[in-house]
Amino acid sequence: MSHGNVKRKPVGKMLLMGAISVTLYALLLLKQDVLNQYIGRGGMYAFLPILTAFIFSFVHGSFTGDFWTVMGIEAAKKKKEVK
């Protein structure tokens, strides 16, 4: 690989989070009828979609972040040139 490649790419973490993310999405679609029934009730069940969104954002957010890193797309190395 190129000369400046000192940081190891988070391949293992990406694969783990990717697998969890796929599982979560599979569950979401397989159990959609049950989920819709509870969420459709509203009231105290309002916490259900909010909690789901937080869990998905943590798992899938971590996976997508590592995905771009593994693909070699990272933030500019220079310090911000304009303040």
């Binding site: 979401l28 909010i50 969104a53 954002s57 899938h60 771009w68 304009v82």
Partner: protein, 362 residues
């Protein structure tokens, strides 16, 4: 039980084509949001409605994808030192009040003038606000580009300098993005307007980001990153409100989120490669393009209300399709500019690194 059946009837059947469509629109919307702090929602809500999702469920599901997306984007951009959390929270809370007030106005208009009246109000708000703010942002970006000083530090506007100079004891708060103390009596109406716009046209950032730049004096990069905090606060409160009525279709929200988290990470990375004025370019271009999309629909709603002679059903349908097409084009154009600017930035960095390496060898 009856309510459950009614609520379940709000939720459409999802097939593979729908899932791919939502994922892709989510990705492009996320890319633009990661870069300018907002955007995408104006396509997602009508996009979901075109699949047969009822209006309120589309709005609710869009909000429920927005806050986790904004959270991930804000954390990413905070790593680059671009987020002013305090300003985001202060503006976000007043924006929440704006959302509630804006939604109330919408409801009242709907009651008084029906669906067409409400649509006309939304479209006119779109056209007027985007025409004024979008043109201003775009002209400012072009001025910077023409001046050749694209690397120079952004100038704080006269208005922002005045706002920063006003001292109202007991209301002053220091914000790191502005590097000055500003009275919350200025930030509250700005946040409120952002929220009202979010409740009306779904994209509060079209007011939020320009007001942080031009009225408060924050740099473009920090303003667009801080908008993500506002979007998180607003989106969380809004989602909860809709979820209480059982209106969130979590499948739609999470599928859009699947695409938009890929996009928002990329958009956030993109901001580290571009010059700050590019934020204004992307924002201005999208705003001015979307403006035409909504302007096309104004005569349709006016004819429905009997304000002008009736427009034939076929013509109205065609105008609606063209309007939606322009919206998708606006988002795609924004995404294209982001990707192009990022690609150019990456290439320049690679060339510079290669040059430095070769110099080192000689």
């Amino acid at each position: 039980m009856h309510d459950v059946i009614n609520a379940a009837a709000n939720f459409i059947n999802l097939d593979t084509a729908n899932i791919v469509y939502l994922f892709l629109v989510g990705f492009v919307g996320g890319l633009v949001s990661g870069f300018i702090g907002s955007g995408g929602a104006f396509v997602l809500t009508p996009g979901m409605m075109s699949l047969g999702v009822p209006g309120l469920v589309a709005v609710a599901s869009n909000m429920c994808h927005k806050f986790p997306k904004a959270l991930v984007g804000a954390i990413k951009r905070a790593k680059y030192g671009q987020v002013d959390v305090k300003l985001g929270i202060v503006l976000g809370i007043s924006a929440e009040a704006g959302v509630l007030y804006g939604a109330q106005i919408q409801e009242n208009i709907k009651k008084a003038f029906g669906e067409a009246g409400s649509n006309l109000y939304v479209s006119v708000a779109f056209v007027v606000i985007l025409a004024v703010v979008g043109t201003f942002v775009l002209i400012d970006a072009l001025k910077t580009y023409k001046s050749g000083n694209t690397n120079a530090e952004e100038k704080v506007t006269k208005l922002a300098r005045w706002v920063q100079s006003v001292n109202i004891p007991g209301t002053m708060v220091y914000f790191k993005s502005i590097n000055a103390r500003v009275s919350v009596l200025f930030t509250i109406p700005l946040g409120f307007a952002t929220g009202m716009l979010a409740a009306t046209i779904a994209v509060g950032g079209f007011i939020g980001v320009p007001s942080m730049i031009y009225v408060l004096g924050a740099p473009s990069l920090m303003a667009s990153a801080t908008e993500l905090v506002i979007a998180f606060v607003m989106g969380l409160g809004g989602s909860f409100k809709y979820a209480l009525s059982g209106l969130v279709d979590i499948r739609l929200a999470m599928i859009i989120l699947a695409g938009s988290l890929f996009g928002i990470q990329l958009g956030a990375i993109g901001t580290t490669y571009v010059k700050p004025f590019m934020i204004k370019v992307v924002m201005g271009v999208i705003m001015v393009t979307v403006l035409f999309s909504r302007a096309l629909m104004v005569p349709v709603y006016m004819s429905q209300l009997g304000m002008i002679t009736e427009i034939a059903a076929d013509t109205a349908k065609m105008l609606k399709s063209v309007s939606f097409g322009i919206m998708i084009f606006a988002l795609a154009l924004g995404a294209f500019i982001v990707l192009k600017a990022m690609w150019q930035g990456r290439r320049a960095e690679k060339l510079a690194a290669q040059e430095a390496y070769e110099h080192g060898k000689v």
